[in-house]
């Protein structure tokens, strides 16, 4: 199974990455090579093994105490934002 330009356009949209004609051609080729390479996993004898998402067995997600630990750094955070007006992060209009 090989990837088409249409497939890659769809993936790029899902990933929210704009892709011009030239980039698309290069991406179809390199993604095709990467997928062909990882396809060797297909024949691995792993049907009876549980998927492994975390490298340390027995570690569980910890819960933290319900208390305030964060300090307010609002000014610092807004200082590095691309566009802030009246303390609000600005984006193009989404509701007409």
């Amino acid at each position: 199974m090989s990837l088409t330009a249409k497939d890659v356009t769809k993936i790029a949209h899902l990933a929210r990455v704009e892709m011009g004609e030239q980039d698309l051609t290069a991406m179809v080729s390199s993604l095709g090579k990467i997928l062909a390479f990882v396809n060797q996993l297909e024949s691995a004898p792993v049907a009876d093994l549980a998927p492994m998402a975390h490298p340390l067995a027995g570690e569980v997600q910890r819960l933290r105490d319900d208390r305030v630990t964060e300090v307010n750094v609002r000014e610092k955070l807004q200082a590095i934002a691309p566009e802030v007006v009246a303390g609000l992060y600005c984006v193009p209009r989404v509701i007409e």
Binding site: V8, A15, L31, F37, L41, P55, L56, V73, I80
Partner: protein, 487 residues
């Protein structure tokens, strides 16, 4: 002996005995950085004023009677660690204007230990690469031959340490990004057990694989930094609550007597440069002469580690990097026509080609219809690989292999096919998949370029790995070699 060729132990002693001050040492280091930065490009940001202020404070603390081992010792931070008030770019255009609002735990801990911050080192963009060529700030040169790469992704830290521009540097390793550059530039580098060092404030690439570590000339130097960086952190939910051993002290009793070292059969197969193979065999002889028992070991699933990684790591990357959307921080495109256009063009402009490849690969393997075939399958193979390692550690104390199949290659020569670049990490990726600690130490020169030998241990066996490396480095002097142009 010049200040820049002193080990951390020697620097610590010299500072304690008032042979030189931290300010003198730091000025020396900053001058070397200034001299050699144009040819190496090892730093993205040099924090001169901060360094001198840190040094002055360290001298005052020493004068007041404090004696922390790293007090006043200059270090560099890989530009993946957030540094409060200092540019933190991850070598990406996306973060070219990002001044971090807080310190990563690694940065805070090393500051508390009294180190002096000299700057932020260059790296592959978002730590995705094995040559430091994907950096928005340009490639880093290998001090042994400036036409060659220093390896990656921690190429700037590696080159800075190899050229003795700084006594030690932090680094991160998701698939070999500490060990492969260590091998390429002839320094020591350790990636500890997953969870040993906090990932808080370390910009995430693949969260189940990423781990912070150290690059420095010797294993003993690495031990000093690792001890200061390690430990439980409530801010990282995957940080492990285990006491941190006294790594430095443990090296004073280092011995290889009775240590069973497994020789990983699969990593001496086709594809390994025979000159590197010969050097690794010489290293095995040294260890044997020091009392180690060498045992042949097979982990048959290990050849599957690279394809497994190139499903798991891109999947996690596509999720982690979704936060870079041009809204709250980072690059934003000009005149977006709507919100989707803002996301798409900001990300297209902000990310380089390799980062996009990985985001798209990850998006694909996680997408409807392909998740089971790729992602779940890779997670099952990941368990197979982890099981192979676990079985090996039933009969040996640590595993030994070359660190990389080749020595440093020329800048610009591995761009045609991404898979060729990926295969550089064939010997290092397995340890990340299984969360194991691993280190690389220099074991000689093949055609004038450094080569490394890798030791992999069971979870939380950093002391044993550093001890074995320390014994080897007591018997050899490869880790003390400095490229002529930087001596």
């Amino acid at each position: 002996m010049s200040l820049h060729t002193k080990s951390i132990a020697e620097l610590s002693k010299g500072l304690a005995n008032k042979e030189f001050s931290s300010v003198e040492l730091t000025e020396h280091v900053l001058n070397r950085i200034q001299t050699h930065q144009p040819s190496l490009n090892a730093y993205v940001t040099v924090t001169r004023d901060r360094a001198l202020a840190d040094a002055k404070r360290a001298d005052e603390r020493r004068a007041a009677g404090e004696s922390l081992p790293l007090l006043g010792v200059p270090i560099a931070q890989k530009d993946i660690f957030c540094t409060d008030g200092i540019l933190t770019t991850c070598s990406s255009k996306m973060l070219a204007n990002f001044v971090a609002p807080y310190d990563a735990t690694v940065v805070a801990k090393l500051s508390a230990a009294g180190t002096v911050l000299t700057g932020k080192t260059n790296m592959d963009e978002f730590a995705m690469g094995s040559s430091n060529e994907t950096s928005y700030y340009g490639p880093v040169a290998n001090p042994w031959d400036i036409a060659r790469v220093p390896g990656g992704s921690s190429g700037g830290s590696a080159a800075a340490v190899a050229a003795r521009l700084v006594p030690a540097a932090t680094a991160t390793d998701t698939g070999g990004s500490i060990r492969q550059p260590a091998a390429f530039v002839g320094v020591s580098g350790i990636k500890p057990t997953y969870g040993r060092v906090s990932r808080y404030g370390m910009i995430a690439f693949a969260s189940s694989l990423d781990q912070a570590g150290v690059l420095a000339p010797s294993a003993l130097d690495c031990a000093y930094l690792l001890e200061a960086m390690s430990g439980f952190d409530p801010n990282d939910s995957t940080s492990v609550a285990q006491p941190v051993p006294n790594y430095v002290e443990s090296l004073s009793q280092a011995s290889l007597k009775g240590v069973r070292v497994g020789i990983l059969k699969e990593f001496f197969a086709e594809g390994l440069d025979p000159a590197i193979g010969a050097l690794v065999h010489e290293a095995m002889d040294v260890m044997k002469a020091q009392g180690a028992t060498l045992v042949d070991v097979s982990c048959p699933s290990l050849p599957l580690s690279v394809p497994t990684y190139y499903v798991v790591a891109p999947a996690e990357c596509s999720s982690n990097l979704s936060r870079f959307d041009g809204v709250r921080f980072g690059h934003r495109c000009k005149d977006p026509k709507d919100l989707v256009d803002l996301y798409k063009r900001s990300r297209a402009e902000g990310f380089g080609a390799e980062v996009k490849r990985r985001i798209l690969t990850g998006t694909y393997v996680l997408s409807a219809g392909y998740y089971d075939a790729y992602y779940l399958k890779a997670q099952r193979v990941r368990r197979l690989i982890a099981n192979d390692f676990a079985k090996a550690f039933e009969s040996v104390d640590m595993l030994l292999s070359p660190t990389a199949p080749t020595t440093a290659f020329k800048i610009g020569t591995k761009h045609e096919d991404p898979v060729t670049m990926y295969l550089n990490d064939i010997y290092t990726i397995g340890a990340n998949l299984a969360g194991l600690p691993a280190l690389s130490i220099p074991c000689g020169f093949a055609n004038g370029l450094p080569a490394g030998v890798q030791l992999i241990g069971s979870h939380f066996s950093e002391s044993a790995l550093l001890s074995a490396a320390h014994v080897y480095q007591r018997e050899t002097n490869f880790h003390l070699q400095v490229p002529a142009a930087f001596s």
